[in-house]
Amino acid sequence: MAGEETGPFRFRPTWVRYPADHPFFEDGDVHRHMYLQGLLENVTKDTERPRTSEFSCQIGGCSQVFNTLESYEHHYNMLHRNVCSSCKRAFPSTHLLDVHILEWHDSLFHIMAEKQNMYQCLVESCLEKFKSSKDRKDHLITVHRYPSDFRFDKSLKARRKEKMRPPSEESSASMDMTVEDSEQSPVDAMEIGPNESIMESGFQSGTEGTVVFPASEKWLYKSRIPPAICFGQGATRVFKGRKKKS
């Protein structure tokens, strides 16, 4: 029919595409944001978390008490899931645990590290590897904008320092403590006093701040169970299969 038309009529069927900020979308957008800000009456919903009677964590050496399943789940996932079987450190992710096991407990690692770049970047999606942990740290700071005192990046120097500590301290040493003494800048004035006051207590302890099991008992428990045996889903992990991508 096009072309037949003369005169003042202009209509032609046309597809209409609207950009995101077009006024046509205004009402819908406002409605969306009222939902985001919790202003819609009809979609209110309370998610009451059911409380159960108190129960404690059954992992050996830990007897922390919980009254909701969620808080126990959180505790378990944070402290008993990604745990190094050799030194009992807990890590926030499988990747960081893998890196730790490789660098701390794989005797081949250091031999290989002399020949090729072996230090994986701590950012899981980054496939770069480095000659030393120092190079990696620089990379983390410059490329990934990580803080210079990133807590889950432990250098060998820090490791040696910890080795000199009594075993009880070491075994309860937690995920952080990268912060080397020299780096304790004045900004850290509010920083968790002596590191241990916060960091030490939780890992193998019961309620916060009180260590329930003396160190010796902990070692007893460990000696009874062969390290290769692993309870529950990913309770502790031994050195096994490195990351596929590496």
Binding site: M1, G7, P13, R32, K45, R49, G202
Partner: protein, 523 residues
Amino acid sequence: MAASVPGTAGPKSWKRSCYHSHGCSVEHLRTWRREREAALRSARRLQQLFSKRHLCEDTSSDGEVAMDSETTALLSEEEVSQLLRKIQRGTEDRTVSMHLLRRGLQHREIQQKFIRLEGSMSLLIGLFTSNLANLQMDAACCLHELSLSTDPAVVEACLPATSYLLTYLSGHSVALVELCLYTLGNLVVEMKAVKKHLLPQGIIPVLASCIQSPHVAIQEGVGYVLSQLLQSKEAADEIIPLVLESTLPQHMLHLVCSRLEDGIGTAVECAWGLHYIICSQVNNSLLISQRTVPSLVQLLLELSSLIATTSVEGLELLICPVVRCIGNLLAEDKTDNNELLIKEECLLKALFVFIQRFLPKHTFVVSECLWLMNNLTVSSTTSCSALLSLELFPYMLKLLCSYQVISLLVLTVLCNIAAKGTAYCEMLHQKAVLPSLVNILVVSDVEVVGQDLELLHLIFLHWPKAATDFVNHSGLYALQQHQDNLHLQERVKALIQTASRLTAVPQNDSFGTESVHFTSLQS
């Protein structure tokens, strides 16, 4: 309420609203809500429409905290500092102090005081990364409260925490991951933070792996972060290319289409994310090749039957972005509509279900559905015939007389049909459109009348017999009303001539009888 419908669109998945928590009268709430709506509207006009989502449940109502919300709002800088020292020292009441701090941080003034205190943020990050599970959650809640701030300085103070927030996304604690996601989603509103910190820290790959979590709460959280990231003005340059390179779009599409049972909230978030991606036009052919259009059409069909059988509330929040995605993708040159053909009639029916359901409460759904109908009927004779043969056609004519925006859109769809030629115009005539079209001429809106004139022109052109009916319904008189309007007069004149010629009624003669007809119509 959604909760009243067991087994359907999971009420579990909807986030709580803060609506009920204000504890004041309904009237007061309505006023407050209207004010908020007006504020959002003007923010959008200034391209400043951003929202932050509050996640934390306030558990401190357990009685362990004596101070109420108003008292915490009045804490002095010294008191905040004391609170931090107590937390730092690790005395027994640390948990109580943490809860107090968290409550305090819900107030703007306390947020300001907190970030001014030296070392406060590194203390909070220290707790956040500690291995004391409960304290860690409390610290995460504090960070979340801070992330809700609209003050860029407060957001900036939170930035040292981003590497940890991202690290924990790879963890296994659902509650913590969820909290980190909503905190990040709030922080990404500041584009500077995204460019300088979150993108280099790898937020896109982390989200791409996080979205594969089996937990609905985490999926919805990822959807929220994505929608926040994708809606920013700079997203097209900085973020969308990265998202399109990842597996995210496919996962988002999957979550939009497959979570009607237990994760409508997830579907809503991901659908908005897709809408922003499609609007950016960075690479829509990729999305088309991933079968986005047929998948979303299928979803609309499911939603229409859900609406017909249940009373789930809030579905417009999902329907709206899905309709937009399909509408804009249909407008892409490369869209291959062949696959759609089979479902066009079903889709049109679904759109009518939505229109009937959401008129008049959410007219935006109606307009957007009609816009999609326009894009469907532009070149598809299948859609046009389907529309004419649907039982719903009379309802469409009724829509003509509702709101100005809606009338205009309905007229445009009818024009698309009329433009398909003789058979279609004959059908339109049979379906008695002419009385409605004459009625429309009475309204004063120039755009609506203009579109009406275009439609009449097409009908007369293809099906001249309709002119008689038009004249019999006092059409000529109605046209005369617009003869003096600068924007319309040319077309009005042309139509009067055509109609007169076709009916062979001398113009002068028609006036007397026409006016009688007209007044009788009015009364």
